[in-house]
Point group: C2
């Protein structure tokens, strides 16, 4: 009796093992397929599937902080070109969420269509800047940045790990920049190229602390830093619900200082990019396009989006 | 006797199956790992391994044509920024080979270091433009483009499937553009945004043939097209070993026509991008940087590459 039991057991055991292994393989295969799709769709080559690229992104509660890049944008000839090269960069940043805020009364068709095909997880907002604020000497994109901060405060909680960065649409970003800023605990800073009338501006660091600013323009600013030169942990944005970019009394070039002094002090800044000795982002500016030969009336036989 | 044989067979069979399956899984896992590395290294996040990113790229004899993008470049404040965003785009194009040609007497350290870390298969060349050709009214980058054509003729044969494209370093490229040009049999053309004083220029197509040019500038040019608006099959470059960009008597804006009339006719052009109705590349231009506050002597305590 005992011998029959053992022989049955040993005949059944391997078959049970086979079934377990085969089930295990099937799970692995589908996860491999998902991984491949993930990269392919990020690379923009795969037929797009229903991924979390809509306007209601999944909440990420994992340990890796999501980088929330806030990009104000407005209608102009180079807009789609600028967004195209930005998306080409952002598509390669893992755990990334792009908050695109249009200066308009509505979602424009161009930006909506663009984002739907960009292959970058995103949220599409719009905030119109009143005409009285659109003058020379007035800081720009204030309403759009504040709109994005409002969205974060409404849709994210302290349980979401995240880092907030203001990514204007004409700058140039290296991929390394995003890995540097991802470890931001409170507020981090780094050099910015081609800004302030110099090859670069940077925080001066001694013993791991920011002690001053290397800049060619108004070194007396409390935080002599460009919008592209700092990132803020999402926690800090949520803990300071009234921290916003100032419209009243604000001067161009003081936006960064006005905002940062609401949430941090110079002593508490965390230097990134090898103690602020590497330029990983450049304040490039795109030339205004010459449209001198653009016909007054539509001459072409088709309408072409540019 | 027979029963003993069967029972042994049925006991051994499943164990043999288990061994086969386990070996199979191991092979799959390592291939999965390789796939992941491939994408990660393309995304520039993985520790770099010895990939074909050196100056002696592997010859590709497969069916998928390699896109050879020829980028002339020269030392200036925005150079590294421009190359950074170009690499961010090109990194996502499969079967791609970047031919970067510096206008200098030697490989500059900045470009060499940049290419070594860019994660894009490349060849690094340099050709110096004599000072007498560096004047307003003279076409630019002639020597560099010809240098790259010479390299292709010396290092590629008719057995290599390829498509040659002139990718200036300040333009903006969508990923779709490269998939459009990849099927170029002889010479293909498409619209270019923000050029010729208009929102876009494009070849006018009727019944699949180019019959004219929609342009705001010198519509009498034989090929009224920007450098970013065409691609040439590698075969055509090799079949016409003397086809080059003209230096003597050349005028700016006529470079494209001078080159194209050596290798094709308007009737033979292959329209891409939905019969030339989509803008997939933009002739963006980056503003010259204001370095008005750059100190005459080095003031910072460290040297920082920008």
């Amino acid at each position: 009796m005992k011998s029959v039991f053992y022989s049955r057991f040993f005949i059944l055991l391997p078959w049970v093992l086979i079934v377990i292994i085969v089930i295990d393989i099937d799970t692995k295969r589908s996860s491999v397929r998902n991984t491949a799709n993930f990269y392919l769709s990020r690379l923009g080559n795969a037929p797009r599937r229903d991924r979390v690229v809509g306007t209601s992104p999944a909440v990420n509660r994992t340990a890796t902080p999501v980088i929330y890049a806030i990009t104000p944008t407005y209608t102009r000839a180079v807009q789609k070109a600028e967004l195209t090269r930005l998306a080409n960069t952002f598509r390669q940043v893992p755990h990334f969420h792009w908050i695109v805020v249009e200066d308009s009364n509505t979602h424009t068709e161009l930006v909506s269509r663009f984002l739907a095909r960009a292959g970058v997880p995103h949220t599409h907002l719009h905030v119109f800047t009143p005409r009285r604020f659109k003058r020379a000497g007035m800081p720009r994109a204030t309403e759009q940045r504040n709109g994005a901060l409002g969205w974060l405060r409404a849709h994210r909680t302290s349980r979401d790990a995240g880092v907030v960065f203001f990514a204007d649409d004409d700058n140039t970003y290296s991929l390394e920049l995003f890995e540097e800023m991802r470890s931001t605990r409170r507020v981090s800073v780094w050099p910015v190229g081609l800004v302030g009338g110099r090859r670069y501006e940077r925080p001066i660091v001694e013993n791991g602390k920011v002690v001053g600013w290397y800049t060619g323009w108004r070194a007396d600013r409390p935080f002599a830093i460009d919008m592209a030169g700092f990132a803020v942990n999402l926690k800090v944005v949520l803990e300071n619900p009234r921290a916003l970019f100032k419209r009243r009394g604000a001067k161009p070039g003081m936006q960064e200082s006005d905002f940062l002094k609401q949430i941090t002090t110079v002593e508490d800044l965390e230097p990134k990019a090898h103690n602020c000795t590497q330029v990983l982002v450049w304040h490039t500016r795109t030339e205004k396009v010459n449209l001198g030969s653009e016909p007054k009336r539509h001459l072409d036989s088709v309408f072409i989006e540019v």
